[in-house]
Symmetry: C2
Amino acid sequence: MVLAGGTGGAKLARGMLDVVGPDSLTVIANTGDDIEIYGAYVSPDPDLVTFWLADRIHDRGWGLAGDTFQVMDGLKAIDVEVWFNLGDQDLAIGLERARRLQQGARPTEAHATIAKALNVQATILPMADEPVRTKVLADDRWWPFQEYMIKAGGASATSHRVQDVEFHGARNARPTPEVLNAIATARAIVIGPSNPVISIAPILAVNGMRAALHETSAPVVAVSPLVKGEVVKGPTAAFMDFTGLPVSNDGIAAYYDGLTDGLVADQRTAGLPTLETDVLMATPEDRRRVAEETLKFALALG
Amino acid sequence: MVLAGGTGGAKLARGMLDVVGPDSLTVIANTGDDIEIYGAYVSPDPDLVTFWLADRIHDRGWGLAGDTFQVMDGLKAIDVEVWFNLGDQDLAIGLERARRLQQGARPTEAHATIAKALNVQATILPMADEPVRTKVLADDRWWPFQEYMIKAGGASATSHRVQDVEFHGARNARPTPEVLNAIATARAIVIGPSNPVISIAPILAVNGMRAALHETSAPVVAVSPLVKGEVVKGPTAAFMDFTGLPVSNDGIAAYYDGLTDGLVADQRTAGLPTLETDVLMATPEDRRRVAEETLKFALALG
């Protein structure tokens, strides 16, 4: 089972699909970045994982290959400021999700329908059915996550330094029955190489998630998001800075202290048993190899 | 001022725009066909008028010229049954309208913003800000108007004979201040050649609309939707049948009895002063001529 937030976790899940097959793969995805916009209920991380597992992810790293942007163009044509860009197929997915949720479906059920329609056979589970929303304190105001990343230019702008992060609603959210069952019955649990502070932390913040991960007999390992000590993509460094931990594999190991049995990284760490291997996942072969080595490492620790 | 439902009224409004210019043209549009779907708030008749006045109407008679259907294709791709077809630019308009209404705008304000964005300078007014929904009784069940027209195949199917028509909410709806002001200050009021029973009747059903039309000093004339005794387009005949009135200009005159001072039609009628002229509006020249003759006729009656 893979815990995934953004691109790193999705890539690892895609590799794991090759290794264990769809029936044995469950991915728990972060819903803290969900946003209701354009009448749609957009769930970026579960959808990102879905598009990766469907081999439909666009080269740019988000959205669907071949998607068009007619509705965004249509909104601009009537003078709407479009700050959140969404392809037409992506919008259709978000509109259908919103419709199902309005009709009373759980997010877990709504996502399962969408994944099935995209011919994904592996199981992709939202971390919780209750809403959790990641908020970032910067410039002394709380930003919804997407607005912080897009409107404020994200953590790359030093003028918008991360002062705090909150997972609004996490205390009232519970792992779904599907998530609890997946954790309890997993052979191995792999925390994907996603941003620990904003992609994995919201999953862990769900009330009861850490307890479930402690209780399971399955080994828990994390794959480091750092390649040669550097962040591959996204605002991991700025968010690690906020935690006070170093942007290093030691920092990653410290962040997951008490939760994981081992770390997969390209540099040995002080705190945890480490599988030293190249964790860059640029090609399908890389993804498969990292997934396979990670699974073997985890099972050996179990 | 023009009261408009579907295509006939919109065409006449387009002709009237040539005759009186945008500053002197106000169109009151039926909102009984409004529908909330795909996260959008779609207002077919006000939008139809807007697209006509913007010279953007598609040749097929609805939607925008050059529009695409990527989101509808996207919904079909995830196994959604698409019964209500909406172009991408059209969807963008409906999504933006929904957003503005959710933020507390009145439908009148939301539509004004959209019309302005489409460079329409004439005034297009929803008949009321309160929701009114046209329902059709057929097969012993009440259908929302769009579902009746599209899912049941509309009034063309004899198996779905119109048993009754209701304008749900009309009693609690009031003409907006903008509508009342337009009626009170109009030089002439023209009821467009739209379906009397389902396009014009919902406007007249709004509580206080008939009284306002009676009180204004402006002459009120109707343009017949019949050409050589036949319906040009749409289900007028089936709905006229339901009223028990003949599908003829005499029937139209009887339907508007007590409301109008005259009728514009290609055949003389028994009940009302009639301007006999060709009312087919196939070309811009036709539309301008019918509008000009109708206005002259109305002013002569005033």
